[in-house]
């Protein structure tokens, strides 16, 4: 081997193929990797939402494409006592059911956080109401609240405590409370398990520090447990409750005389059975401000710690 031969041999790096160059290009990779996620979101979230908002400004019915009518649907709804009844009940239902679910759910979570015999088994059992499909829950409650064949009425009459059937869903206020009770029953497990998971992730050092400072059990709960857990679980719970549909639709269909319509059930009633797609969409769209408000409230009013608002410096 001579010097000359050494100097003439130059290692040339193989030129990458066009495919290789393509996959090396950062903009291309960004587009390719994001496409499935963005595509799914656009197809299944953005498009329906945008279509719903568009329909709210038209007079579309089932069977006829509508024309743009501006805010006519909203002006009608604002004069419609049934719409305001639904707004009232949606807020009332959400507020009372959320408080109920939280009170009972937190209690349950604190109990389960202790060392109990058969702890895993108990934890599994309390999830049952949440695992059962909502429609089945609704049908079960529909029987429980039946004006003629309610098991509760039956037991009360058998035991001599009452002589007539209990009026669960035949008049406005009893119906409203009955539905809230059903929602609370169904919602407790979600809250309890979420809170339990939260309880177990709170750093024990916080409790140790508090105990060193002489905090009582109540103070530890009030100043550590509660603020650390509340915001996120609360936001989810409010949104789920506010947009509830199945329980109400299956048990009362918004009756008696529209007194238990939530915005979701009223929107469905007007849009699908009633055929007024435009007006139904307007009702659905009018839920958005409430949901945005609930979310903002939970994040900014309840979450006082910076890390809960997404900042690192606590």
């Amino acid at each position: 081997m001579t010097d000359a031969s050494l100097s003439t041999w130059v290692h040339r790096r193989a030129e990458p193929s066009w495919l290789g160059r393509l996959f090396d290009s950062k903009p291309f990779l960004v587009v390719v990797c994001l496409f499935p996620a963005v595509g799914l979101l656009m197809t299944f979230l953005t498009y329906p939402l945008a279509l719903g908002i568009y329909l709210a400004f038209t007079d579309t019915t089932i069977g006829r494409a509508g024309i743009w009518v501006g805010v006519e649907n909203f002006t009608y709804l604002f004069q419609d006592p049934i719409f305001w009844g639904a707004v009232f009940y949606s807020v009332f239902y959400t507020a009372i059911a959320t408080i109920g679910k939280f009170g009972l759910g937190l209690w349950l979570a604190l109990l389960l956080n202790n060392h109990l015999p058969f702890k895993s088994f108990l934890r599994a059992i309390i999830l049952l109401p949440w695992i059962v499909p909502t429609v089945l829950t609704a049908i079960a409650f529909w029987w429980i609240y039946d004006p003629q064949f309610s098991i509760i009425s039956h037991l009360l009459i058998k035991s001599g405590l009452r002589e007539t059937n209990v009026d669960f869903i035949n008049t406005a206020w009893p119906a409203r409370w009955s539905l809230i009770a059903a929602n609370i029953w169904r919602g407790i497990p979600f809250v309890a398990i979420s809170l339990l998971a939260g309880l177990q992730t709170i750093s024990p050092s916080l409790y140790e520090a508090a105990m060193l400072d002489g905090a009582t059990a109540w103070q530890r709960f009030k100043y550590i447990t509660f603020p650390m857990l509340l915001p996120i679980v609360m936001t989810f719970s409010i949104i789920f409750t506010f947009t509830d549909f199945q329980l109400v639709y299956a048990i009362t269909r918004g009756g008696p005389v529209n007194s238990t319509h939530l915005l979701a059930t009223l929107a469905f009633q007007r849009a699908i059975p009633g055929g007024q797609l435009g007006e139904g969409s307007a009702i659905a769209v009018s839920m958005i401000p409430f949901l945005v408000f609930a979310t903002l409230f939970s994040y900014f009013a309840l979450a006082r710690r910076k890390w809960q608002q997404g900042e690192t410096n606590d």
């Binding site: 069977g63 004006p147 003629q148 009026d167 918004g254 009633q269």
Partner: protein, 444 residues
């Protein structure tokens, strides 16, 4: 359930198809009269095939015979027919999609108002309707109303039958109250209900969001007092003294009902009746069959009678049946084949077996089928043969339209009644509120 099992129905259907026997479904022989009529000349398109969409069956033989009839059409004409059965709640939406997209089934057997909403998407069926009408003694009033475009003689739908909801009552209780049958006079009817209530055997009618039963009762209440939702010109006419009178009557009548009817849906009265909780209600024939089939409930069925809803201030009983209404879409590539199939299905060799297979759940749209053996099969069912002999429809007295269908589906009449019955509104306020809501639907 087992009046006819699936197997025997299949065999019967098959043998009928094979032999081509008149009235082949061998429950009984019917004597259906026909008049001379020339069928319209329909040149079936070459290589045509058809898709038919219809609501799910009431009873298994309904589906078997319907399929057998279509198979026979295929045998005679070579046109393949595919029949899809869909749930009752879905048919309205599927009709809307078919009409709007211009794709899908060639024929839909929909409900009530569907052809009137999609008129411009449909093939006119006057030739078939006139031929069949002439041959079988004429179309009954309700069939004419639902079949023809409003104010014309142009047929856009071919009604296949209707299902009505007359009074269902316990003979023992009504007789004990001193009546042979529920009276037509409103005061006497109230008196009967009061006596039933006093005897601990109360009546019960749905006032909840029940599409069939709730609207059936509310419509009867208003109609029997001479009221109506809209007039002939489609103007909202609910806020009138007749309606207020009807609602005042309801205040008294409601006191006799079993508690809880405002929370009732379509199934509630069936359950309460089967449990001896109510002794007078209104329902389709299905309830009677359910009682009759069940050994334990047989005594209730034996004590049950059907009669027309009280006439009240009218001279006929006001009742609107749920109508099965067939339509052919313009987008079909085989319109003549589609029309031939509908015509074929309404001929007695096909229609009468199907009518019998339905046991009375559907009642015929044509005069001459009144002599079908199905109405002899059980005297308690024979009343239902007049379901389509009615001059009342959903949305009476206006044209059948999207608006009348929507007012029905949005429970305007039912909720007007329930608001008064519950004491939530005065009759005047409830009628005014119903007017406000109805105006929204009838605005264009």
């Amino acid at each position: 359930m087992a009046l006819i099992t699936r197997r025997t129905a299949l065999q019967l259907g098959a043998s009928a198809a094979a032999l081509g026997v008149t009235g082949g479904f061998a429950l009984a022989q019917s004597n259906i009269k026909t008049a001379d009529a020339t069928p319209p000349k329909l040149d079936i398109e070459k290589g045509a095939s058809l898709r038919v969409l219809r609501p799910a069956r009431f009873v298994p033989p309904d589906e078997e015979i319907f399929r057998a009839n279509c198979a026979r059409f295929t045998k005679e004409t070579g046109v393949e027919v595919r029949v899809d059965f869909v749930g009752w709640e879905d048919i309205t939406q599927q009709t809307a999609v078919t009409a709007n997209t211009g794709a899908g089934p060639d024929i839909i057997l929909g409900f009530n108002e569907a052809p009137h909403i999609y008129t411009d998407k449909l093939v006119e069926l006057s030739d078939v309707a006139e031929y069949i009408g002439k041959k079988y003694g004429g179309w009954l009033p309700l069939a004419q109303k639902y079949g023809k475009k409003h104010g014309t003689n142009n047929w856009i739908g071919l009604p296949f039958g209707a299902s009505g909801g007359p009074l269902v009552w316990r003979k023992s209780a009504v007789n004990a109250a001193g009546y042979d049958a529920p009276p037509d006079d409103l005061d006497k009817y109230l008196d009967l209900c009061r006596k039933l209530h006093a005897a601990g055997k109360p009546p019960g009618f749905a006032l909840g969001n029940a599409v069939g039963d709730g609207n059936g009762f509310a419509n009867w209440l208003v109609w029997s007092h001479g009221g109506f939702l809209v007039d002939e010109d489609n103007k909202v006419a609910i806020n009138r003294k007749e309606t207020v009178e009807a609602l005042k009557y309801l205040q008294e009548l409601y006191k006799t009902f079993i508690p809880g009817t405002i929370a009732w849906n379509d199934i509630s009265n069936n359950r309460a009746y089967a449990a001896n909780e109510i002794w007078l209600t209104a329902n389709g024939v299905s309830m009677y069959f359910a009682l009759k089939r069940d050994e334990k409930l047989r005594p209730i069925a034996d004590d049950t009678q059907h009669s027309l809803l009280p006439k009240g201030k009218l001279n006929v009983s006001p009742m609107a049946g749920l109508t099965l209404n067939a339509m052919v879409f313009k987008h079909s590539k085989a319109q003549n084949a589609a029309k031939s199939l509908l015509s074929f299905l309404l001929e007695k060799d096909q229609y009468d077996p199907w009518l019998q297979a339905n046991l009375g759940y559907w009642s015929q749209p044509l005069e001459n089928y009144s002599t079908s053996a199905v109405w002899e099969s059980d005297p308690k069912v024979s009343l239902f043969k007049n379901t389509m002999r009615s001059n009342f429809w959903i949305g009476y007295k206006g044209p059948i339209s999207q608006a009348s269908a929507a007012a029905n589906a949005d429970y305007i009449m039912v909720q007007m009644c329930a608001a008064v019955a519950s004491g939530q509104s005065t009759p005047e306020a409830a009628a005014a509120e119903a007017e406000r809501r109805a105006r929204r639907f009838f605005r264009s």
